[in-house]
Every structure is written in structure tokens, then in C-alpha cells.
């Protein structure tokens, strides 16, 4: 990659974010027509990335990027091969149409500018995700898609359903993100590769690593939550609370495909093992069946589509995990086909909703003459979804059946799963595309008529592409399908399937599927009733479980907080002092650091007397029966300490202590005579015993610590410095005073500031009265 195109690619990756920043202002100026201007950004990116089609179709992969944190081997880098280019084109191409569609759909919405901003940011994140090379770039963009999708799903933030859906999506995909991060780190540790391109070059290293299974499960934890695999599927249908452009974009081609992308990307290094080829088809197949069964039950157009999206994602995961080149080709074809037809159908559903005021399929009918363009787009998309010949979906379905076959019991079972899933999806696709348009016209909340060009352009283009891409299948295979399949398989693969039906097993299975689909379509009403009663009988689902888990978390944290923060000062104090005693005693015991047994101190008798006075003072404070005794006893211990200072060569301390103790006693006496309080203890004896124990242990621990400290040699370096320099440098004879006003003058300034602030605080406390001073008077 040349420096020029490297710079351009970086610009293309940043362009959506720049457009997002501009969007609110543009929308203020141009209102909904800002869509035409904003759509230029994704269109330019589409053009840029389509420039890579040629080199990629020749089997080359293009890497580029910039060093981010070189010392940690972390880069901002991208890697473009068949898989990422296909995804980039889907994201930017459908993105262009979605921006236009949003212009029409949210026309007149007061926050349309914000919406444009969110959707462009999401586009940038998604694009970054699929082209990312270094693990960290991948993870950052992965998390960005979670965050921006949270903003999009919760766009209508005044409704609690919308807030719940947004939070649910964020929590489920966010936890998956953590799992992904852990998985990437395990891979990094196991192989030493910090980027996808380096990892893909390691061959079998990861498969043979002892941590292979851990890495696999963690990575799948990320992929399955993002791609809504059973049992994490529940957030996707709930996300239909978002405005329809979001559903059409996030839930057809982008967000939910991120997990599938990850699985496909890592297939060459993680795949071809028993675990891979068991876990993926089992979860994918289950998701396919659960998704279609749940879809049958719905009557809301968007929800029907949402559950079939879950099903399609399951099918993709199942195919990727099947482990043959044919299956990989089928997955690639189906992924492209699904992005096109599902995007179109979501937009059709939104269009019908927008123009009629309802999207309940049982309350719609006969719209074909009022909305002919929409009808055409819907039929085109449904034909592709149903896998009818001449459409891209047909190619995908032929390839699926060719890949699965009946070679063993295992593949026969998967074929059966695929037939049931595809048949039901056929029925639902046509239910969405035909039921609102055929039959007798039904009265709708709004008078139906064709939507503006901004609204029908997107679905028509996507629906048409499903046909065109199949008609020119040699070109689309050369540019898209083959390079993409090669990237997933990890070695060159050529897709050859053409639109011309050829007699064989796949065609027969396709016919069976269509037959089953048509039957299901005709009986859809009855199936819906059966599914509803089955689901009611089960009652519980992961969606409900999410609510319960969240409520349980809140209750748990509330309970824990109530224990830890009881709101009682004596609890906090007890906990603090127990911790203090433990911090002092445990190291002493653990490291045998107890002080040596000391000799009995030889001291003059007057020192003994002063110590005794101090002990009597503190003892009297405890036993004082009235406040005067308590205050006087407090004074006694303070004066004893002052005397000690005097005897031990600290006259300055002694003076200060005398002053401060005198002041304390005076202030205490002033305040306590105003409070009608007794200083005596009201604790029950049992509490007293506990408190004595805690206090005694703490006191003993501190005393032991002090004894131990005085038994080690003393480092007098600092004291000697002050003694030697006090007169020489600072010209003062009283060393203590020199330290205070000169050597540590700044400390003293700080101390004075503390005293001043305390004074101000006391003044404020005394002056400020509560807002209801006359309360007692009013009540009486």
C-alpha cells in the first residue's frame, strides 16, 4: 500500500466521525434535506473501498496503519482482504442508503440532527471494526459499536421500553466485549501475535496451544452475544424499539454481523477442530430453529423480521462452523444476500409504518395500488429471502444444500435444520412482503399513499441489487464471493455457482424448502396460534431472566451497602480500629517482629509521678460522673503531657501544650455548660466489653510498635543536619524555632492556613442558622 492510499484509508476511516460532528449543524440549516449532503460521506468511503476490489480479487491482502503505543506493540492498523472489503462495502453502501432513508423517515423530528450524528458515528465504529488489524484497534471499535448502538436503540429516550432495550443491548454486548478482550489477550499470550494479520500467519500455533479451548470459548462469548446467538438472542428483537432506520442498518448488515465477522475472521486459526465444529453448528442450528419458531408467533412486521434475523445469524454461524469449503462459500453468499434483502425488508416495514401508522400485519392489506414502488421493492427482497431462482438468495441456498448434503448423520441433521429454518423464513419473508399489499384494502390509522423518494430509494436499490448481483454472478463471484470465501477459509477458494438451475440434490432440496415454505405461508395464522400457546405454557425466557438478574443485582448491592454503610458512627469507628490493630499486629506475628523484653526503666521518681498523674487523668475522664470532672480530668492529662515535655528537653512544646490545654478546657467548659448533657456512658455492659477489647488491643499494638521502633538503631542524619546548620546558615540559636520558621517555613505557612480556615469554618457554623428557626415556636 502506498503512502498516499494509506493516508486516504485513514481519512476514510475518520470521515464518518467528522460527518457526525457536522450533522447537527447541517440539519439545522437544511432540515431533512441534510441527508443528501451527509450521504456523500459514506458514498465517498464506498468509492474508496471499492478501489480495493481489484487487488483483493487477485488474492492480495493490504495492510496499513500507524504506530500507536510502540513500546507495548500496539498499533492503529487495518487489514484489507476479501472479507473486510466486502464488509466495508456493505457498511458504507447500505449506510449511504440508510442516511438517505433517515432523512425521510425522521423528517420533522426535533432531534433529527442528533440521529444523523449517532448513525454516522456507529457507521465509523462498525467500519473500523471490520478493517481493524491490531487486536486493540479491533477491541476499541468493537466497544464503540456497543456504545453507539446503545445511543441509537435508546434514541426515543422518553419511553421506558426503549431505555430498557438500549440498556439490555449494552449490557449483553458489553459483557461479550469483555469476553472478547480476554480472548484476544489469551491469544496474544499464546501465540505472541498482537494483530489479526500476524495471527493468520501463525498457522496451527493457536490450535496446538494448551489454552486453545479457553481462547475459543472467550472469543465465542464475544461473538455469540454480539450476533444474538441463542441464549443471548433476546436483546435483538427488543432493540426493535429503535427507529426503523436503526433496525434496518444495525440488524441487517452491521452490528449483529460483527460476531459473524469475528467467527469468520478467526476460522483459519481457530477452526477445523472438534470443539469448533461442534459448538458452532449446535449453537447456530439451535438459534436458527428458535429464531424462526419465535418469528412465526409475531404479527408486528419489524419483530417478524427481527426474529428471522436471529435465525439467519444462526444459519451463518452454523455454516461457518461446518468446516468445509463449500459451507464457507455458502456462508459468504448468504451473508451478502441477507444484508441486501433484510435491509430492504426492514426499510419496507418502516415505510409501511410511516405511511399507514401501523405495522401490525393483521391490520394491513391492499396497499399494492397505494404504494406500488414499496410493493415492488418488497417483492424483490422477499424473492431473494425465499431463495427463488434468478435471485442472489437462490445462489446462497443452493450452496448451503450442496455444502451440507447427506454425507453423514450429522450433516443430514443439519440439512434438516436448514430446510425447516429456510422454509419458515420463506413463509415469513413473503408474509411481510405480500400480506400488507394484497387482498382487500384495510382501513389504516393514516391514509396510505406512496412515500417520498428518500424513503423508497433504499429498499428499491437493495432489492434490485439482490437480482442484479445474481444475474451478473460471474462478476460478483470474482469481486466479492471468491475473495471473501478465500479469506474465511484461509486458502484460495473459487465460487462458481450460477443462476441457471441444474438438476441435482441441492435443487431438489430447494424445491422441498419452497414447498414447505408455501405450506407454512398458507397456515401462518394457525401456526401463530400454536406457537403462542406453547410459549405461554413455557412462560419463562432469557428476556424475563434479564429483568430478574438486574433486579437481583440491585437488591444484592442494596443489601451489601446496608451492611457496609449502616449509617452508625460506632460501627465505622469499630471497623477502623479493628483494621488498625490488625495492620499492626498481623505483620508483627507473621514476621516475628515483636520487641525484645525490655529492662525495667530506671527513672527519677518525679518522672514516675508525672506519668502517674497522666494515667490518673485519662482514667478519670472515663469514670467522670459529671461534666466538670470530665473537663478537669482532661486538663490534668494535658498538663501531665506538658510537664513531660518540660522534663525531656522540649520547653517550646511545653509552653504550647500548656496554652492549648488551657484554651481547650475553657472552650470545652463554655460549650458543655450550654449543652444539657452528661458525659457518662450509656452503653450496655456487653458493648462495653467489646469496646474495651478493641481499644485495649489497639493500645497494646501501638505501644508494642513504639517499643519495637525504639529498639532499632536511630538514624540521626536529619537531626544532625539541623544542629550543624541552624546557626551557620539560618543564624538562630533555638534549633526548633529555626526549623519551624526557616527550614520548614512553608509547612508553617500551611499550618497557619489550616488554623485560619478552621476559624472561618467555625464562624460559619456559629453564624449560619437552619432555614426554619421558628419551627418550634410555630408548632407550640
Amino acid at each position: 500500500m502506498t503512502a498516499d492510499s494509506q493516508w486516504l484509508t485513514f481519512l476514510a476511516l475518520m470521515l464518518p466521525f467528522a460527518a457526525a460532528a457536522l450533522a447537527p449543524f447541517l440539519t439545522k440549516l437544511l432540515r431533512h434535506n441534510a441527508a443528501w449532503v451527509l450521504a456523500i460521506a459514506p458514498a465517498l468511503m464506498f468509492l474508496h473501498f471499492s478501489g480495493f476490489l481489484d487487488p483483493v480479487s487477485e488474492g492480495r491482502a493490504l495492510a496499513g496503519g500507524y504506530a500507536w503505543i510502540p513500546s507495548l506493540d500496539v498499533d492503529f492498523s487495518w487489514y484489507l482482504d476479501g472479507l473486510s472489503v466486502t464488509f466495508a462495502l456493505l457498511i458504507t453502501g447500505i449506510g449511504t442508503l440508510i442516511v438517505l432513508y433517515s432523512g425521510g423517515y425522521l423528517n420533522g423530528h426535533e432531534h433529527q440532527g442528533r440521529f444523523f450524528s449517532f448513525i454516522l458515528m456507529f457507521m465509523g465504529s462498525m467500519l473500523g471494526l471490520v478493517v481493524a488489524d491490531s487486536f486493540l484497534t479491533l477491541f476499541v471499535f468493537w466497544e464503540l459499536t456497543s456504545i453507539t448502538s446503545f445511543l441509537l436503540i435508546g434514541f426515543d429516550h422518553s419511553r421506558s421500553g426503549s431505555r430498557r432495550a438500549a440498556l439490555q443491548a449494552l449490557i449483553v454486548t458489553g459483557m461479550g466485549g469483555l469476553s472478547l478482550l480476554a480472548g484476544l489477550l489469551v491469544i496474544w499470550g499464546a501465540t505472541g501475535a498482537s494483530s489479526l494479520s500476524a495471527l493468520l500467519a501463525t498457522g496451527d500455533a493457536l490450535r496446538e496451544a494448551p489454552l486453545y479451548l479457553a481462547a475459543l470459548l472467550l472469543i465465542l462469548g464475544g461473538a455469540f452475544t454480539k450476533s444474538a446467538q441463542f441464549p443471548f438472542h433476546f436483546w435483538l428483537p427488543n432493540a426493535m424499539e429503535a427507529p426503523t432506520p436503526v433496525s434496518a442498518y444495525l440488524h441487517s448488515a452491521t452490528m449483529v454481523k460483527a460476531g459473524v465477522y469475528l467467527v469468520m475472521r478467526l476460522n483459519p486459526v481457530l477452526g477445523e477442530t472438534v470443539a469448533w465444529e461442534t459448538i458452532l453448528p449446535v449453537f447456530g442450528g439451535t438459534t436458527l430453529i428458535v429464531g424462526t419458531f419465535l418469528a412465526v408467533r409475531q404479527t408486528d412486521l419489524k419483530l417478524m423480521l427481527a426474529y428471522t434475523t436471529v435465525a439467519s445469524l444462526g444459519l451463518l454461524v452454523m455454516l461457518t462452523g461446518f468446516g468445509s469449503h463449500k459451507a464457507v462459500e455458502a456462508a459468504a453468499l448468504y451473508l451478502v444476500a441477507h444484508s441486501l434483502f433484510k435491509g430492504a425488508l426492514f426499510m419496507v416495514a418502516g415505510l409501511v409504518d410511516h405511511e399507514t401508522g401501523t405495522r401490525d400485519v393483521t391490520r394491513l392489506g391492499g396497499l399494492r395500488s397505494a404504494m406500488p414502488v414499496t410493493f415492488a421493492a418488497a417483492v424483490l427482497a422477499a424473492c431473494s429471502m425465499g431463495g427463488l431462482p434468478l435471485f442472489f438468495g437462490f445462489l446462497a441456498k443452493e450452496e448451503i444444500y450442496a455444502a451440507l448434503g447427506f454425507a453423514s448423520g450429522w450433516s443430514a441433521a443439519l440439512t434438516l435444520v436448514a430446510i425447516v429454518g429456510n422454509g419458515l423464513m420463506f413463509a415469513i419473508g413473503f408474509a411481510v412482503a405480500l400480506k400488507p399489499f394484497l387482498g382487500a384494502p384495510v382501513e389504516t390509522p393514516k391514509h396510505a399513499h406512496e412515500g417520498p423518494v428518500l424513503l423508497w430509494l433504499g429498499p428499491l436499490v437493495l432489492g434490485g441489487l439482490g437480482l442484479i448481483a445474481a444475474l451478473i454472478s460471474t462478476v460478483s463471484h470474482r469481486l466479492i464471493s471468491s475473495p471473501m470465501s478465500s479469506a474465511i477459509a484461509g486458502e484460495p477458494v473459487t465460487v462458481t455457482i450460477s443462476t441457471v438451475p441444474h438438476i441435482g440434490m441441492p435443487l431438489a432440496l430447494s424445491l422441498v424448502t419452497v414447498g414447505f415454505g408455501v405450506a407454512a405461508f398458507r397456515m401462518l395464522g394457525r401456526l401463530r396460534g400454536v406457537m403462542a400457546s406453547v410459549l405461554n405454557a413455557i412462560g419463562w425466557g432469557p428476556d424475563k431472566g434479564f429483568d430478574q438478574a438486574l433486579a437481583a443485582t440491585t437488591k444484592l448491592s442494596f443489601g451489601v451497602t446496608r451492611i457496609i454503610q449502616s449509617g452508625r458512627l460506632d460501627y465505622y469507628m469499630t471497623a477502623t480500629f479493628i483494621a488498625l490493630a490488625a495492620a499492626l499486629l498481623i505483620p508483627m506475628i507473621a514476621f516475628g517482629e515483636f520487641p525484645a523484653a525490655p529492662a525495667f526503666p530506671a527513672m527519677p521518681f518525679y518522672e514516675w509521678i508525672v506519668l502517674l498523674i497522666g494515667v490518673i487523668g485519662v482514667g478519670a475522664v472515663i469514670y467522670a460522673r459529671d461534666r466538670l470532672t470530665a473537663i478537669v480530668s482532661l486538663g490534668i492529662q494535658g498538663f501531665a503531657v506538658a510537664l513531660l515535655f518540660m522534663l525531656l528537653g522540649a520547653p517550646d512544646l511545653s509552653f504550647t501544650q500548656f496554652m492549648v490545654e488551657t484554651l481547650s478546657v475553657v472552650i470545652l467548659a463554655l460549650v458543655m455548660t450550654r449543652l444539657r448533657l452528661s458525659p457518662t456512658d450509656h452503653r450496655p455492659t456487653s458493648e462495653k466489653i467489646g469496646d474495651v477489647l478493641v481499644a485495649g488491643t489497639c493500645g497494646a499494638a501501638l505501644g508494642l510498635m513504639l517499643l519495637r521502633v525504639t529498639q532499632v538503631p536511630f538514624n540521626a542524619e536529619l537531626s544532625e543536619f539541623f544542629a550543624a546548620n541552624s546557626r551557620v546558615i539560618a543564624h538562630g540559636r533555638n534549633i526548633v524555632n529555626v526549623i519551624i520558621v526557616d527550614f520548614r517555613g512553608m509547612d508553617t505557612l500551611g499550618e497557619i492556613a489550616v488554623v485560619m480556615i478552621t476559624g472561618l469554618a467555625i464562624l460559619a457554623l456559629v453564624r449560619i442558622r437552619s432555614a426554619k428557626p421558628a419551627k418550634a415556636g410555630q408548632e407550640s
Binding site: V615, V621, I622, S664, E751
Partner: protein
């Protein structure tokens, strides 16, 4: 001397903590005051004890000619005494005003910030 002081300091700490564990603000305050003295004595003892010779340089000399008391802990304690006094005064006034506003000196009765029987936070979205 250090040995006797260590025991003395231990007793002071024990009494101070016992008072601070009480539920009554006045007793907690008395405890805080004693705690301050105990901490100061700890700093003093850690700097080792020399009897009766203050760290003052004689008029005729540039440096002290005998072993004097350690000046560094004294300077630290001087600062500490003043700050603990401001702290004590502030706590005292705070306790006084609390008693005036709430009508109690029992810390169990002071539950304005953390009221008893607080309801569960909302469980919805």
C-alpha cells in the same frame, strides 16, 4: 525511659479509642483530644529521649557542644499541637451545632444523610 513512655502511650491510645467508640459526641470529643496527645508523644518517643537539655546553641558557639534533645520531632509536634487544637475546636462547635439542630448527642440518632429504613432503589428502567 522509652520503655515507660511506650507503655504510657499505649494506655493513652487505649483510653482515647475506648472513648471514641462511644455513641456520645462529647465522649468522642474527649477521646479525640487524648488521641492527639498520644500521637504527639509517639512522635516524640520515636525521635529518642534526652533529659533536660533543650536543643539550643550556646551564645558563644556555632553548633551545640553537648548531646541535646532531638529538635526535629519537636518541630513536627509543635505544628501538630496547633493543628489538632484547631481540629478539636472545630469538632466541638460542630457537635454543639448538631445538638442544637438535631436535639441529640447520640450518634445513632443522627441519620439525616443515611436515614433508617431507606426504600429499595427503583427496579424499573
Amino acid at each position: 525511659m522509652e520503655v515507660a513512655l511506650s507503655v504510657f502511650v499505649g494506655i493513652f491510645f487505649a483510653v482515647a479509642i475506648y472513648l471514641m467508640l462511644s455513641k456520645h459526641i462529647i465522649r468522642i470529643l474527649l477521646g479525640v483530644s487524648i488521641f492527639g496527645n498520644a500521637v504527639n508523644l509517639t512522635i516524640f518517643t520515636v525521635g529518642r529521649v534526652v533529659r533536660e537539655v533543650p536543643p539550643i546553641i550556646p551564645e558563644a558557639l556555632q553548633t551545640p557542644d553537648t548531646i541535646t534533645a532531638n529538635p526535629l520531632p519537636q518541630a513536627l509536634i509543635l505544628t501538630a499541637i496547633v493543628i489538632s487544637f484547631s481540629f478539636f475546636a472545630f469538632l466541638l462547635v460542630l457537635a454543639f451545632r448538631t445538638y442544637q439542630e438535631l436535639g441529640t448527642d447520640d450518634t445513632d440518632g443522627m441519620r439525616v444523610a443515611e436515614p433508617e429504613g431507606e426504600p429499595l432503589p427503583p427496579l424499573g428502567y
